[in-house]
Amino acid sequence: MASMRDIKRRRGSIQSTQQITKAMKLVSTVKLQRAKQRAEQSKAYFNCMYETVTSMLAKAGNINHPYLSGGESEKKAVIVITSNRGLAGGYNSNIVKLITQGDFKKEDLRIYAIGKKGRDALYRYGYEIVEEDSGIIEEPLYIDAMALSKRILEAYSNGEFGEIYLAYTGFKNTVVHEPTLLKLLPVEPEKKEEKAEDKAGNALMNFEPEDDEALELIIPKYVTSLIYGGLIEAVASENGARMQAMDSATSNAEEMIDHLSLMYNRARQGSITQELTEIIAGANAIS
């Protein structure tokens, strides 16, 4: 049985860990509120963007453009959004699993990493990291998403890869976060047909400039908005995941402290009993 001093020291160290996890939980709760609010504010923009692009594709069904048909290259680009800091439960490893256990071939992938944790993990697995942009996850700005989508679309137009994916953690609500793999380009054809029927009854939309030119200009904006949306949701999910992880860490610490306190009290009682027995035995021996 561990000595009284050992148990006391152990309990002290768990207590100070618990204070840290408690503080981290509070911090991420506040950050989550802010991130959630931001996600809600930008929703209107994305809904509208989505509607415009789908109605546009419904009209542009017969246009043959690389944005719609896909490139010839076998290579695939994946934008991987993770966090810069750990202690967020399964948040980062779920995204990494999405890549490593998906049906991608390792040698075909080109990773655009946002977030140090994901970059490090994928680098260890031997994936090719083309670019790292971990700073932007701290405070995602639309400008950052614009710059990234510009670079990635340029590479796409140059034929460096044929498909672009976005891996991020979708924010359903405070406790449910879904690792999501979204295909950015080429734009999925099924979606196009389905929407064509929906929109058939609506007023005919004109485009200025002409359809294919407008497509050329709008698709990059569409991709940018998806990346930005991914960033914002990922930040909210990160803080949600950390809040949950820290909450359970705090309650686990509580449990351990209770257990150790019990053990400490028992050990104390035991040592008192032992001392008493020794004294009595000694007194008996003298008389």
Binding site: A44, C48, T52, P209, L217, K221
Partner: protein, 135 residues
């Protein structure tokens, strides 16, 4: 005719916030095909925005903003502008815009090899739009 009848619903959305939402008489902005002014009963159209000034006319009240990128969806009774970058004159840093203008101008003048001409032109246009919006 009731006063409301010749008003269109204008909504300007950016990724971060709803920038403006009201009923207005006319809205003017710059598109890649040239400047346009839109009243009610315009035919449905989607336009790509070029850097320029957005002018909102609401009865006698005129408001201006610098609109840099995005696109506009025009329907008969409403206009939705999805703006990637838009600023009220009060939010513009005039000195910075002036500097950016000079920088872009010198870059275009020098025409050094390897200069991204399109980018320089675009930043010049943006700077000019900002400066004009403040004036």
């Amino acid at each position: 005719m009731a006063e409301n009848d010749n008003k269109l619903k204008l909504k300007i959305i950016t990724p971060d916030r709803i920038f403006y939402e009201d009923e207005v008489s006319m809205v003017e902005f710059n598109t890649v095909e040239g400047e346009v002014g839109i009243y009610k009963q315009h035919i449905p159209m989607t336009m790509i925005i070029a850097p320029g000034i957005l002018t909102i006319t609401r009865d006698d009240e005129v408001k201006e903003a610098a609109l840099h990128a995005g696109f506009a969806e025009v329907l008969q009774d409403r206009v939705t502008i999805l703006a990637e970058i838009i600023e009220w004159p009060a939010e513009i840093d005039l000195d910075r815009a002036q500097e950016a203008k000079e920088r872009a101008e010198s870059r275009i003048r020098d025409n050094a090899p390897g200069t991204d001409m399109k980018r320089a032109e675009l930043s010049l246009k943006r700077a000019v739009a900002r400066i004009n919006a403040v004036k």
